[in-house]
Amino acid sequence: MTRAATATGEYPNDLPRPEGELERLEAAWELPKGWRIVTAVNNTVIGYFYIATAFGFFVLAGILALLMRTQLAVPDNTFLGQETYNQIFTMHGTVMMFLFAVPAVEAMGVLLLPQMLGARDLPFPRLGAFAFWAYLIGGLVFFCTLFVGLAPSGGWFMYPPLTSERFSPGVGADFWLLGIGFIEISAIAGAIEIIVGVLRTRAPGMTLDRMPIFAWTMLVFAGMVVFAFPAVILATILLELERAFDWPFFIAERGGDPLLWQHLFWFFGHPEVYIIFLPAAGMVSMIVPAMAQTSMVGHRLIVVALIATGFFSFGLWVHHMFTTGLPALSLGFFSAASMAVSVPSGLQVFAWIATIAAGRLRLTAASLFVLGFLFIFTLGGLTGVMVAMVPFDWQAHDTYFVVAHFHYVLVGGMVFPLLCAFYYWAPAFSRRPLSERMGKSAFWLIFIGFNVAFFPMHISGLIGMPRRVYSYPAGLGWDLPNLISTVGAFIVAAGILVVLADFLRNLRPTLTKSAGDVWKGGTLEWLENHTYGARSVPHVDSREPLWTHPRMSEDVKKGRYYLPGTMTGGRETIVTSPVEAVPQYLMRLPGPGWPHLIAAVFTAAFFLLLTVKAVALALACGGIVIAAMIAWMWSSDPASAGEADIGAGISLPTYVAGPTHPSWWAMVVVLLVAGALYLSYVFGYLYLWTVSPATWPTTPISMPSWPVTCLIVSGVALAAATRLLGSSRLLFALALACGIGALLVGLALDAWTQWQSGLRPSASGYAAMVYANAVLQAQIAGVVTAMGAFTLARLVAGRLDADRRVVFDNLALLWGYAIGEAALGLLLTHGFPRVAG
């Protein structure tokens, strides 16, 4: 860092700013007009759409909850039939978890992070937009299956064998598997964007220590998504393979095991709770200091708590399987981890209380929601400790006690903070703040209604009421608590109606004339925002820069800080180093466009058509997706536009390759996702072996010499291509084509040898696992092939050379990974039977 802006009045850029600078900046970031707004990629626009959609699903799933509460108001009710009720509770859970909670917190990240970090936008705007549109379309179609009676009815955790082809023959379960699997992919796309955004697009000087807690929580959130979601994606792939082709992963008679699903699902499912809760806690950690007008007490402790929660939450998954008959000692380990994870949460609660004590809490609507959150979440945490006690869980598991517990945790831990966030951040994105009076009435209705609805459920559970019953007999003492719960549910609904009415009356989304910093917040999202974020990017030297530098908002607006205009004539953002936030690169960002939107629409169509087994149509859509993605990616990676002076004498390159480029980081995250997916598979393979070792072959097939040779050839070609890119285009192309070809041939040969040996995937859990390996390898190899073809096309078009090489660098990472995964696959499927047999 050369010259830093300080309070002494030295700024990176001088005033007055040149004429036309602001106009050029505005022009670069101009939004598409009218209905073309759907092609916009700005994080603020996508953020609005995202949050509105997520909240819409919240309301829809809430209506389903009201239907269920109406049915359960009295014993032996006939308001809803058995099948309808089963579909409704399945959809309520699924929609709340996958279409509301995760997208809602991701949406808050998309909307807030660039503003909070002092970036102009997220690093991959079209990827974010793609993830949103795919989610919107996929989610809507998925929800609509309810209206035609085709919704899944296996419960939101879809345990086989109930969800197998034999016991759920309709397409409902397929809608869940393909629909949700695909929405999970969109969540991962968002997570990649968030990780790279948080680590690489912070304002200069915003070291990790000065980074707002919300950004920390989103970083941990995204990291957890990267490791947790692949487990459930693998599970959905396996179950769909079983349903479609009779590969018996979960069928006990043929060496599968229903518990494999539970392990994979909960390895995702328990972290999921924290995936939802942590960002919400992050919002609270932003709002409490602002409302109390003091810094967060124990800032570093909270960072530690967040990281520890992220890790500990992966040691809890069996906590949902305490009644499955696992060995007592195993249960003990998971009970211990469940205890350990509550320490960091308790720490955060006391840190919030300390911050409130350190300042003076203004009793605004947002503060009320914080207080409500603290009460409800603490109670939910305490019942969480109870169900972490194995013997207690033997009684409480799968009863209304658990229903009460997780609603306290999730509604208390996520919905309250979200409503709080709406009331707090609305003025940053709306012409008018929301109404304090309506917010407070809404709070009281929701808070009282929630406790009236859910507290009695603890009791109905302990006196024997199992969850997921569409009806119950009179005379077991369940009548009164259920009636009270139903009354409470409608009070909550009234509160949500007040919130919606407040939105209608006061929420006027704007990107240019927001109400602004009405709470006197200390972080960068309270700078005056425009379509391009803040006019200039401030230098950050504290955790609450707006409190440290009272004139910062004004100076930023005048353009005194970094990057006061557009240097290349287009959209751009500063890329900084991950720990110390030193400026490294001026990244050019894309503007609005159609290809990512078309790709999203047809990706959704592809999966949904596959569900209803319209294979030809689905393939046609898949073709359109590939075409759209090529069109989308073609304009990426523009050639260097020389150096750009962002102020303070800092001159940044407009082209970098290798680990400095954000897309290299994104690709590394993709590899982590792929690695987590494959490790989940390795777990599944070894797990089935521990369950039914008898189905493993005693005489393994011949050594895979040819596939190994192919992998070696592919690796050599990769190394050669990396060197040849600078020297010979022809030899480079040859190495690329041969290397990827060798990879494909090697994988095909291995699958063919297995087939030749007489092994058929439907024969046993073992056989199915062997071919599942082939499927997973083919997925990666397919992507490598597509990227290879794209790279060659860029080479031919002259868009790839020794300097302009990001496209190849990314391919090389994935290609190298694919070789490694293929080698691991060979080691597992050929080596393990030899060791175990």
Binding site: T323, I353, V385, M389, G477
Partner: protein
């Protein structure tokens, strides 16, 4: 707060241990919640000295780290001790073994008599008071969960696996239970009753249970039996001592002696038996038995009379 199906009415040692554990947990939770609410109260409205104390990082470390670690370690040890008591203690040598198999949406029950002969029944488990009973839990289709809160916690019934659960009833009585793992369609209507009998009474009941079905006593009952057999009921249901030897549905050899029908969801009255035969799909949607509307009113009551006589 005691009902027929409540963990607060423990009638067996495991349930009693868990009820004690629950009491400790509830009191502890109430104390912690009070501390948090009080801290919050003082943080907002307390004296400046109190607020200064709460605002120190030390308060966060003591309240948020040290206290939880101590409390949770103690709780974990207690929980593990309870677990050890229920899991690691072997069943007595005179333990009674009963096989229970979960099926969509009823319970197949099988006893062994003194000679090891299998005696099949359904939806009602009779046990001797005071004696260890080891239940062998299996599933025939999807995952179910066996749960009788007054006696013990729940244990899942999982295809391909055999789980066991030891129960002891301290006193005679009827303990209701219900499937606790969602098992599709009529999951809500999959209940059962455990009837604990004094040892002598149990012995004579088991002897009777193992015998052939009682012969049709009167003319109506005989007519009912013929209709039952002619309508093909025996393809799914067994009545030992007759041609009916189906294994798909519940064994009906002593259906007249059971307290409830349809997996403990309807009292075993003649009206309910008749309704289930004619309109079972309405009473329990999706169950495996098609509606038998072939019977005239008299025929139906004859069949019902026959079934009710099977005691």
């Amino acid at each position: 707060m005691t009902g027929l199906q409540s963990m607060f009415a423990p009638m067996g040692p495991e349930a009693a241990l868990i009820a004690d554990l629950a009491a400790v947990l509830f009191v502890g939770a109430a104390v912690v919640l009070t501390i948090v609410v009080a801290a919050l109260w003082f943080a907002m409205l307390g004296s400046s000295a109190a607020r200064r104390g709460l605002a120190a990082e030390r308060a966060v470390i003591v309240g948020g780290i040290v206290f939880p670690i101590v409390a949770l370690a103690a709780l974990l040890a207690y929980g593990l001790w309870v677990m050890r008591a229920s899991v690691a203690s072997p069943a007595a040598s005179n333990a009674m073994r009963i096989e229970v198999t979960g099926e969509q949406w009823w319970w197949r029950v099988a006893y062994r008599d003194g000679d090891g002969r299998r005696i099949e029944s359904a939806n009602e488990i009779r046990i001797p008071v005071g004696r260890d009973v080891v239940l062998t839990l299996r599933s025939a289709d999807v995952i179910h969960s066996f749960w009788v809160p007054s006696l013990a916690g729940k244990v899942d019934m999982i295809p391909g696996r055999v789980n066991t659960l030891k129960i002891v009833a301290k006193q005679p009585g009827v303990y209701r239970g219900q499937c606790a793992e969602y098992c599709g369609g009529a999951h809500a209507l999959m209940a059962l009753e455990v009837v604990a009998l004094p040892e002598a009474e149990f012995a004579s009941w088991l002897a009777a249970e193992g015998a052939q079905a009682t012969d049709a006593a009167g003319e109506t009952e005989r007519q009912g039996r013929e209709l039952f057999l002619a309508a093909g009921c025996g393809a799914c249901h067994a009545i030992r001592g007759t041609r009916a030897d189906g294994r798909i549905g519940p064994d009906l050899t002593r259906v007249g002696a059971r307290r409830q029908i349809a997996a403990a969801t309807l009292p075993a009255t003649r009206e309910n038996l008749a309704r289930f035969i004619v309109d079972g799909q309405h009473l329990k949607p999706g169950n495996g038995m098609p509606p038998f509307r072939v019977f005239s009113a008299e025929e139906l009551s004859a069949v019902v009379a026959y079934l009710a006589s099977l005691k």
